[in-house]
């Protein structure tokens, strides 16, 4: 008999019973639909224990490496003890270590956490102010750097960005929750060409992923496209040019809609990408930033031959205005 632990309770599985069926039978609510290992509605994450390979067939590498599996086709062998969870997040106390303007509209926020914070470069976290105000930001840092780095776009009237830009001070206490997201580098195919494209602060996770790939010894070509409306929207140009100078396989291509120059291409991001990478079959790609751009580019890259499982998209959505219920925590 196998046993499954979920939220500190153990649930026995009958012979040949899936994790999904066993949990449902014993009153645990788990989302599910096709129950045939296809639709992925029942994704869960293994915290400990052996997951049969059959329960991970068809999952993206980024999900597999995080321990995700399909509960509906997961039939642990007798004697297995499995600890599972949904996508439970943790809040970690952090302090503001530095606040630096990278451009007129992008603020770099570095945070130090009391406890080590486990994440992959390119994932995102929620930043929580002491009063509970929360916003989601991608991590631009690498785990080995210790400090967490966020690129915060300064939005007129923005609650969190306005606070960070005008009122927050070094040393202030905040909290981070996460990490989440499957936009990160996965070792194992060092020769695979990589394509990274982002607009605005979509550069943050891409900067982390590029450096992660280079430090992991990636040998295939790496293309980084950063798009903005005008040159003022570009940032970290010097750092990225330096990185490109040190790594011959890394190509940095900034791009603006108007105001291009000798060093900055002018035109639509997807046109530039098509010109530089005309046939991206076999590439792995990460797309981050404006959701319209991300969705349209993902479709274009898929149609031009990139496999869906090699396409990682992280569309940045503006936070919706919301009314706080009186007395709500």
């Amino acid at each position: 008999m196998a046993r499954v632990k979920h939220e500190s309770r153990w649930y026995p599985l009958e012979s040949e019973e899936s994790v999904l069926d066993g949990l449902l039978r014993q009153g645990v609510a788990v989302p599910n639909a096709c129950r045939a290992g296809a639709c992925q509605s029942c994704l869960m994450r293994a915290l400990s224990g052996e997951i049969p390979e059959a329960a991970r067939v068809g999952l993206k590498d980024t999900l597999r490496t995080q321990g995700y599996f399909l509960a509906c086709v997961c039939k642990p062998v007798a004697g297995t003890e499995l600890e599972v969870a949904g996508a439970d997040a943790l809040r970690v106390p952090a302090r503001i270590d530095s606040l630096t303007l990278l451009s007129a509209s992008v603020l770099r926020v570095r945070l130090s956490t009391d406890a080590p914070f486990d994440y992959r470069a390119g994932q995102y976290v929620s930043l929580l102010r002491a009063d509970g105000l929360a916003r989601s930001y991608s991590l631009a840092s690498l785990p080995r750097e210790g400090l967490l780095e966020l690129h915060v776009r300064l939005i007129p009237g923005g609650a969190m960005s306005g606070w960070l830009a005008r009122e927050a001070r070094v040393g202030d206490t905040v909290a981070v929750q996460g990490p989440a997201g499957s936009c990160f580098y996965v070792p194992g195919h060092p020769e695979q060409p990589l394509l990274l494209a982002g607009t605005g602060t979509g550069l943050a996770p891409l900067h982390g992923i590029v450096r992660d790939a280079l430090e992991s010894g990636h040998t295939g070509p790496i293309w980084l496209f950063h798009g903005a409306r005008t040159p003022e929207g570009l940032y970290l140009m010097d750092a990225l040019r330096e990185l490109a100078a040190r790594h011959s396989g890394f190509h940095y291509r900034p791009c603006v809609l108007t105001g291009g120059s000798r060093d900055v291409a002018e035109g639509a991001l997807d046109v530039l990408i098509r010109a530089e990478c005309p046939r991206p079959v076999g590439f792995r790609a990460w797309l981050c930033g404006d959701s319209g751009m991300v969705l349209s580019l993902r479709k274009k890259l898929f149609l031009s031959g990139l496999s869906l499982k090699d396409l990682h998209a992280d569309a940045f959505l503006p936070s919706a205005p919301r009314v706080e219920p009186v007395g709500a925590r």
């Binding site: 045939a36 296809a38 992925q40 067939v57 068809g58 969705l295 149609l303 869906l308 396409l311």
Partner: protein, 127 residues
Amino acid sequence: MSTAAQEKSVYEQIGGEPAMAAAVDVFYRKVLSDDRISHFFEDVDMERQAAKQKAFLTMVTGGPSNYSGKDMRAGHAPLVKRGLNETHFDAVVEHLRATLEELNVPAPLVERVLSIAGGARADVLNR
């Protein structure tokens, strides 16, 4: 709930789940590139859309699937409201054939798959 299988399913014969994963990329690309039907397949969540198509391909190849005719009707009812008709169904079947041929599935197996798919016509079109 499986009927005694004297013969292996097409799903098994062409390689099971990995073959479906490969087929989804090819099939999805085809329907998304076809202006006649692409609007039925546009989805902000491409993963979800691909998962649906994988479930469909798994079903029509006789793989493990729990989709019933009732599910098929309910799932397609909103599309029928948006004008889904015979022409669109035929276009999808055409892409299904092309996908299987592109993946070198032997002709007799292709015919078996297309006949299963054809059997879903009434449910898909909510007739």
